[in-house]
Symmetry: C2
DNA sequence: TTTGCAATCTTAACAGTGTAAAGTTATAAT
DNA sequence: ATTATAACTTTACACTGTTAAGATTGCAAA
């Protein structure tokens, strides 16, 4: 088992993760449509067929990248959630989570798109993906539940924040000024009482 | 100039539109990732290189499909907008537009995704696309302006409805029951007073 | 009407892709 | 040390987007 970056032996040692990292990097730099499995292999310094020892096919690789995206987002949300744990201003907490959500989308445009892409949404999926996605969603849910128990409140908040993030990422909404004020302006119309 | 469906002459007569229709059909039936330019040509009964007489490349074709998607959506929204013109219940009108938006997304999943896809969002675009997209957006805007002049109200409503549509289309939100009640439940937390 | 020309289409070719099959090498278990 | 298995490479195939060169057509000017 070898953990070096450079390939020095026939067996890579940590190829699975190396491929995931390379894929993330390429997606962010070149875009999803420019990402090829062969390119990922090339970037990692292995042969074109090497990925198939670790992933069933290209989609499976991308699903795992998306899953790690959800995990990254979840960590950000959960950190904020803990910071605010003793605060009584639950609404302020929710807004902060919204800002984090949108900021994550902007900082990781291509991966964010991938996370909800049809490459993934249209079925195979994976346990990892479902767990990671649910975990991220649950952060929002917990924050909402401190404000109101109304059943659709979570979906409503998620929809608003997700829609805003999507529209910005997809260039349908030009954003001038910083993200935070923008998110606050948009979410201020959400009222749960 | 010939308008028949079957190809009978060397010149097709209306190939541009035929290609757009075929592309729409294939996208909806097989998904965006399964759509190939060659496949579109095949479906239209024309050679693989024929599309290049009408479109610069594959992306340009898809951009036009997306544009026609926005146009279709705009027509639906505008029809509803006119029907409600004499109504005084502006909020009810807005809700109806929201239902139409989400219903359109569900009825045309793949095209809806295409409309906001990175294939398009990441730059080339086209005049057609921008005009059609702006026209659809403007329907929402007009409806909102009858409720409130607050600057971010439109973005807020659009974000919510678009987010809801996206999450459903991308299978992140399972929908049980009919769309209408679902949309109303989610949007009822939007309050503009 | 004839001629020429531009638009529309076809065929052929190239590089790049995803992926399966078969062979090679390293590691772990005996 | 031997062997089995997992991790890798090489090779090959069908398919893709796109370009170039040639064929066919309708139309406008002569």
């Amino acid at each position: 088992m070898r953990m070096t970056n450079q390939k020095q032996t026939y067996h890579h040692g940590d190829l699975r993760n190396a491929l995931l990292q390379a894929a993330w990097k390429i997606v962010e730099k070149e875009g999803l449509d420019k990402l090829s499995l062969r390119g990922v292999a090339r970037e990692t310094g292995v042969s074109q067929a090497a990925p198939y020892a670790h992933f069933k096919d290209k989609s499976s690789l991308l699903v795992e990248v998306a899953a790690s995206g959800f995990t990254a987002l979840k960590i950000l949300l959960e950190t904020q959630l803990k910071e605010c744990d003793r605060s009584k201003d639950h609404r302020e907490m929710l807004d902060k989570l919204g800002v984090i959500y949108v900021q994550f989308a902007l900082d990781n445009r291509a991966v964010f798109r991938l996370m909800f892409s049809d490459v993934i949404s249209d079925f195979p999926k994976s346990e990892n993906y479902e767990i990671a996605a649910a975990a991220a969603f649950s952060c929002l849910e917990r924050a909402i539940l401190r404000i109101t128990p109304q059943p659709f409140a979570t979906f409503s908040a998620w929809s608003t924040v997700h829609g805003l993030a999507s529209l910005i990422v997809d260039n349908r909404l030009e954003i001038s000024g910083d993200v935070e004020t923008y998110v606050r302006e948009v979410t201020k119309f959400l009222k749960f009482d």
